[in-house]
């Protein structure tokens, strides 16, 4: 009867495990479980060792540590690809000229409007039409910049949100670490299998957010580091936070240390990479293009004459110098453009050495545009710009000087009176002289030195970048998703629940249970027989 009882208990335990497997068939991260049965200790009966039934030695989960660690790694790559694709596909739409967006049409129309003015230089109507086309160009350029900066703003919000999510994961992992340590104390095997599955799922989800590395301690807890800093250590975890830097972007901090530069993958890495990419390429290029249009049109406009004999006027609001101050003791107290024609439309870094010298380095070419001994309040001139830095500087101080940062936010029409449009090229008061407007229209087809291309060619290179980088990001996402699917297949091959399998096992143990019960009944009948003697 005891043997029957052990069979019933073992079958019931197995049935419970099977039921649990069936219940969790769709639970992400669940590893199927199996009862481990073993022979009960034999007993001495009539000089013979007789088996005493079956015992449940434990419940094991089907788990492959190698595949799980591969999934953690792949999840980081997939997270990065997902975020990168999301950010770049948003950015791509900004330059989608086939949907009527982008700058190509308005840029072309702006220059063809100068041709209309050339056809009828003394007329009011074509001049007013030129104003309309100019305003359309300004609106489009402003909309593109706003969309790009909105895109970057969304990324910054995502960076802050992900930092918060990471904290939630870190807290849960630390808490599970404690529970696993308590549950497995004194045990030689991984008994807290449900808790371990939960923790593995959290680690997998966390790896989708950022590049983590982890190792398991002997007590069953795991330590997790993120960006070379400790995130979870046993039951303790450090706080992730985000802070806005001088460029207006969110940096991520772990335990008070800025780890932005160490984040290379996961969604956080993808978003940071996309932010850098959009800032350095699309935003920089569109600002450079607009600055170049502004510079070339203004230079030509200044040389021409209006119907009212005006000359030397800017057509667009003049470019302005912006600066980023990365210094504690000094400030840029003035900055201006002194010679528009010398302007390279590059950005510059002003740095200092310990000996008190300053260096103005062109960020695009890497060349030193100017150097000298720093004197507080003395003007520093280079490539058509002049800045004045006042205060004490150290070797770590840097200033970023750019004629591009505000090129679109400040992009506006300086001329409001149509008579002031400098259509005439030779002298004042010649209404039929259209030489300057023809020269202006021909700017559209001219190779611009600062851009190394025509305006439209340069714009096309921005669209090409937007399209090809989005296409590459999408291809990369597809590849990484397929890789992930493949790995999940590998994982599921080991850990996934098959309902058909469970159905077979259900029958298997139901039969075992029935047989065990029948054994008890037979033993009972045998007992009754003896008792009736």
């Amino acid at each position: 009867m005891g043997i029957g009882r052990s069979a019933i208990v073992a079958s019931q335990t197995a049935m419970a495990t099977i039921n649990n497997n069936i219940a969790n068939v769709n639970t992400p991260g669940y590893s199927r479980q199996d009862v481990m049965l073993e022979l009960s200790l034999s007993v001495q009966r009539g000089g013979q060792l007789v088996g005493s039934g079956v015992t449940v030695a434990g419940i094991k989960r089907h788990y492959d540590r190698f595949i799980e660690s591969q999934i953690l790694g792949q999840n980081q790559v997939l997270g990065r690809a997902t975020a990168f694709d999301k950010a770049l596909s948003e950015m791509e739409q900004i330059f989608n000229d086939s949907s009527g967006l982008g700058l190509s049409k308005t840029l072309t129309e702006f220059f063809t409007a100068w041709q209309e003015v050339a056809n009828y230089p003394e007329g009011q109507t074509p001049r007013l039409m030129l104003f309309n086309k100019t305003d359309a160009l300004i609106r489009n350029a402003t909309a593109i910049e706003s969309s790009l900066t909105d895109n970057i703003k969304h990324i910054n919000e995502e960076v802050a949100n992900i930092s918060g999510e990471i904290n939630t994961f870190a807290e849960k992992i630390a808490s599970l670490n404690s529970e696993i340590v308590v549950a497995e104390t004194g045990s030689q095997t991984e008994t807290a299998i449900g808790l371990r599955d939960q923790r593995q799922k959290l680690l997998s989800d966390l790896s989708n957010l950022a590049n983590i590395s982890m190792y398991e301690n002997t007590d069953g807890s795991v330590n997790v580091s993120l960006g070379s800093r400790s995130l979870v250590s046993g039951s303790r975890y450090n706080i992730m936070s985000s802070k806005v830097n001088i460029e207006g972007n969110s940096d991520v901090y772990l335990d008070g240390t800025n780890i932005t530069g160490n984040i290379s993958s996961g969604q956080l890495g993808g978003f940071l990479m996309a932010r850098q990419d959009i800032t350095d390429n699309a935003l920089y290029s569109i600002r450079r293009l607009v600055a170049s249009v502004n510079k070339e049109v203004n230079l030509l406009h200044q040389a021409g004459f209006g119907l009212d004999s005006s000359t030397g006027l800017d057509y667009f609001n003049a470019l302005q110098v912006s600066s980023l101050d990365n210094s504690t003791g000094a400030d840029i107290t003035s900055s201006s453009i002194t010679n528009m024609s010398q302007l390279t439309l590059d950005e510059y870094d002003v740095t200092f050495d310990a000996l008190g010298s300053y260096f103005v380095t062109d960020r695009q070419t890497g060349t030193v545009a100017d150097t000298g001994i720093y004197t507080s309040g003395a003007a520093i001139s280079f490539d058509g710009m002049q800045i004045t830095i006042t205060g004490a500087v150290t070797a770590n101080d840097t200033f970023r000087v750019s004629p591009l940062t505000s090129s679109i936010s400040n992009f506006g029409r300086a001329i409001t009176d149509y008579k002031q449009i400098a259509v005439s090229g030779s002298a004042a008061g010649l209404p039929g002289d259209n030489a300057n407007s023809i020269a202006m229209a021909q700017l559209a087809g001219s190779s611009i030195g600062d851009l190394g291309a025509t305006f439209n060619d340069y714009y096309r290179s921005i669209v090409s970048y937007a399209g090809s980088s989005s296409s590459a990001a999408s291809d990369s996402l597809t590849f990484e998703t397929n890789m992930m699917t493949e790995m999940y297949s590998q994982r599921d091959a080991v850990s996934g629940v098959s309902l058909d399998e469970e159905a077979i096992k259900l029958i298997q143990f139901q039969r075992a249970f029935e047989a065990g019960a029948r054994m008890v009944r037979i033993a009972d009948e045998m007992m009754q027989t003896i008792l009736q003697l």
Partner: protein, 360 residues
């Protein structure tokens, strides 16, 4: 053998269905928009080609509009010069009739005819297109020629400004003919040295480099001679004006050419004879200007035809790069639909199968 879990089975089916539906949606988008490229990443290289084609088409359209405007300008100028040519021909005709002793009645008739043609010439020299004077150079808001009552001569108020329009990315075509070039007469020479009666005649010319106006000083006879005469003309209106007054025996200020009627008549005849080669050269000059306009018009027409051809090629290239091949797209959609149907059917088969169905 790879073990297949239920979760994996469902996930794979979902993924396959999503993939097929996404494929079908993308092809449907191509059909609804009629475009193969709906966003830059669909074909980055194709996108920039399409942008290039569109910019070129747009620029070519603008060049065609410029050419059309220039054509109107040149057409009106051509008509004006043609009309001036007619006036000069008539002046030439009455000169040949009336430069040898005519009756007073005829002289008055010729005088009034010359005055009519003078006014007609002035009118055409001051032709306007809209609000613009055609023959004033850059001074399009100023009458090209006006009569100066102080000097009793016609003066040019324009300049040498050459108005151009763009006809392609770097080429321009001049549209205007400056008034000084069309109506101020330059005698290429050789100029006659004597009149039919042997009286010496000389033509000295000075060109103003700022306006292009050529002033011809005509000297008839020798200094000290009774019928010695000098006068200046700088445009065809001056020529007609001198003719008109000469037939009346008067200078352009209305005074008699001489106190003696005989000398005055002599001077009149000499002036009319001396003006004949000027009219002839003016006529030739106008013809040259008309020829130049004709050449420009032919060039613009040729350029316009080329732009039309270029745009056809560009439009065809744009369509090839950007537009969807409708037949191919429809076939693709049909194929995607068949694939989706097959997947749905097989998926339904697979997910309806379970061992649990057979357990009692």
């Amino acid at each position: 053998m790879l073990r297949v879990s239920s979760f994996m089975l469902y996930e794979q089916l979902k993924k396959a269905l999503q993939s097929d539906i996404s494929d079908l949606t993308r092809k449907n988008l191509n059909l609804t928009t009629g475009k193969r490229i709906n966003k830059p990443s669909d074909d980055p290289a194709g996108t920039i080609r399409v942008l290039d084609y569109k910019v070129s088409i747009s620029l070519n359209d603008q060049y065609k509009r410029n050419i059309q405007q220039a054509g109107i300008f040149l057409g009106v100028a051509d008509k004006a010069l043609g009309s001036s040519q007619d006036s000069l021909a008539e002046l030439s005709k009455i000169l040949s009739y009336g430069d040898h002793g005519t009756s007073t009645k005829d002289s008055n008739f010729y005088s009034s005819q010359a005055a009519l043609y003078r006014d007609s010439l002035l009118d055409t020299a001051n032709s306007k297109l809209g609000e613009r004077y055609l023959f004033s150079g850059y001074q399009t808001d100023t009458q090209a020629f006006t009569f100066d009552s102080t000097t009793n001569h016609y003066v040019y108020n324009g300049d040498l400004g050459a108005m151009s329009v763009s006809v392609d990315r770097s080429g321009v075509a001049q549209v205007n003919i400056q008034g000084s070039k069309a109506f101020s007469v330059t005698m290429p020479g050789p100029t006659p040295t004597s009149l039919s009666d042997g009286t010496p005649v000389s033509y000295s010319q000075v060109t103003d480099p700022n306006t292009g106006v050529n002033t011809i000083t005509v000297e008839i006879g020798n200094a000290g001679d009774l019928d010695h005469d000098t006068f200046t003309v700088s445009n065809v209106m001056d020529v007609a004006n001198y003719m008109s007054f000469a037939w009346k025996g008067q200078d352009v200020d209305g005074t008699a050419l001489d106190a003696s009627a005989v000398v005055a008549e002599q001077k009149s005849q000499h002036r009319l004879q001396a003006l004949y080669p000027v009219v002839k050269d003016a006529s030739t000059q106008l013809l040259q200007n008309q020829t130049e306009i004709g050449t420009r018009e032919a060039f613009l027409k040729d350029r316009s035809t080329r732009l039309d051809n270029e745009n056809l090629t560009l439009e065809s290239a744009r369509s090839t790069a950007e537009d969807a091949d409708m037949n191919a797209t429809l076939v693709d959609i049909k194929m995607a639909e068949v694939a989706l149907e097959a997947l749905r059917s097989s998926s339904a088969q697979i997910i309806s199968q379970s061992l649990f169905n057979f357990l009692q």
